[in-house]
């Protein structure tokens, strides 16, 4: 359920390194399930840089809004502009076509991130 090639935060974001110094960032399947139908996504501008743990955007569902924090430091190089007209992609495929931004990693991945097994365990505990 949680891809092994991605790392996770306790706040339910994922980051998936693409092997070329960039990585895709989004919210996990668990996060989108908890939020329900997503209706709007507020993303930063391409070229903006954020530290690990910094808020870079918001995801709004019908019933709630969540602030999204960057799992690992980097510069925004691409936005998933499809989400403007299809915010539901986040519900349909959070790890695939529901990605939020692509960043160029500043240095190594944040060592505090969880791997898929540890994240699955966190989710199991939270949803208990």
């Amino acid at each position: 359920m949680y891809p092994a090639d991605a790392k996770y935060t306790k706040n339910h974001e994922f980051i998936r390194p693409l092997g070329d110094g960039t990585a895709l960032v989004g919210i996990t399947t668990y996060a989108q399930e908890a939020m329900g139908d997503v209706v709007f996504v507020d993303l930063p501008e391409v070229g903006e840089s954020f530290e690990a743990g910094a808020e870079f955007g918001t995801v709004e569902s019908v019933k709630t809004v969540a602030e999204i924090f960057l799992p690992s430091s980097g510069e925004v190089v691409e936005l998933n502009t499809e989400l403007e007209s299809h915010p539901e992609f986040i519900n349909e495929d959070a790890f695939g076509k529901g990605w939020l931004i692509k960043i160029r990693l500043a240095g190594d991945l944040n060592p505090e991130l969880l791997d898929a097994t540890a994240y699955a365990q966190l989710v199991a505990e939270e949803s208990h």
Binding site: G36, D37, F40, D42, E60, V62, K63
Partner: protein, 367 residues
């Protein structure tokens, strides 16, 4: 903290894959796998089925039942006919809300009051306390009563084959007794969605069989189970107040824009004196609807409302509207800002976002 309460349909919701949340002490489905938007659309265009068994039922009986309820509540109980229902409230003497409710007239000496789940104990104590001086008895039948709400334009078509009474004869805000596949039930033409529909009251132990029968009957017509998430967006579009949001013990019934249930002319009722004074003094604020001017701005409950740059109130309910395609909400504003089209601002995460006072209800079904 007492244990979370469960309705008789708890297992059925879980079997349907519902996401359960705590709602005023009740373990309730906020949505099913199709999600809030699909459920909202189903109710507006076809039909949806809600579990509302958590709602409370208080029965008031006795030779003084009518006089007592006319004294206790602001709407005109004496004007109700047998089988008729009206929306009303329990008010404190200062004119603010104990709760809002639906009052059903069974006969001159018997009424059924349907109250909010989170207020059952408070309401029961409130009615009992005041009933002591009257020849009435008050019974809390909440635990013994199941209730489901079938809502949407196809409600009649779904329900009619299952009951032995002519549902088209029940007018809006009236009820009747009948048999649901042989089981005695009470059916009212009411709801909390702004759509046509029926609410079915049955013994708690029979709720699941009634629910299953309605689901089976309705599925070919597009019926889906619908949860509290869409119930909130539906009632918001129809500008129906929610206790704890638009109305509570800090808001008076006139500023809540519920003047139509406040029958000041009928004589004494609890809260009347203070409401008369408030009216004479002039209201300072009123509940209005608003719409956000930018599609990206979504107002949420509790956000500040700004008028001329100053905090003038807060959002009581705010959400994106599936039917209207805009982001809307309800809030209290000073009386000078209540006119439709008045520009106000909603403070969203530190930013003042443009909105305007809008006509309500935001959605009204075609008759």
């Amino acid at each position: 903290m007492s244990e979370t309460k469960k309705t008789p349909l708890n297992a059925a919701h879980r079997a349907l894959g519902a996401k359960m949340v705590d709602f005023g002490g009740w373990d309730m489905p906020v949505q099913y796998p199709q999600g809030i938007i699909a459920e909202h659309i189903a109710v507006r265009t076809k039909v949806g089925l809600f579990d509302v068994s958590h709602m409370g039922e208080l029965r008031v009986q006795g030779p003084q039942a009518m006089a007592f309820l006319d004294w206790l509540t602001p709407n005109a109980v004496a004007r109700l006919a047998k089988g008729q229902i009206h929306y009303t409230a329990f008010l404190y003497e200062n004119g603010t809300f104990v709760d809002d409710l639906l009052l059903h007239k069974i006969s001159d000496d018997e009424y059924l009051l349907v109250v909010n789940a989170s207020n059952i104990e408070k309401d029961f104590a409130w009615v009992q306390e005041h009933a002591a001086a009257w020849q009435v008895t008050v019974t809390n039948e909440s635990d013994a009563t199941g209730q489901i709400a079938l809502q949407g334009p196809l409600s009649l078509e779904v329900l009619q084959p299952l009951v032995d009474i002519d549902l088209s004869e029940i007018k809006y805000y009236w009820f009747a007794y009948g048999k649901f596949q042989g089981l005695p039930v009470m059916i009212s033409r009411t709801g909390y969605t702004g759509e046509d529909g029926y609410e079915i009251y049955c013994p708690a132990a029979s709720t699941e069989s009634v629910w299953n029968a309605v689901m089976a009957q309705g599925q070919p017509l597009g019926l889906i189970p619908t949860g509290l998430g869409c119930r909130n967006t539906l009632r918001l579009e129809a500008k129906m107040s929610l206790y704890g949001h638009e109305i509570d013990d800090t808001t008076n019934a006139l500023e809540a824009d519920l003047g139509w249930i406040i029958k000041l002319q009928k004589g004494f009722f609890l809260g009347r004196d203070e409401l008369l004074l408030a009216k004479a003094r002039g209201l300072t604020r009123k509940l209005v609807g608003f719409r956000m001017l930018e599609k990206r701005d979504i107002a949420r409950d509790h956000m500040n409302v700004l008028v001329d740059g100053l905090v003038a109130g807060h959002v009581t309910s705010g959400a994106p509207s599936t039917t209207c395609g805009i982001n809307l909400g309800l809030c209290y504003v000073p009386l000078a800002s209540t006119e439709i089209g008045t520009r106000i601002q909603i403070e969203i995460r530190g930013k003042a976002c443009e909105a305007e006072v809008a006509a309500t209800p935001f959605y009204k079904r075609a008759k």
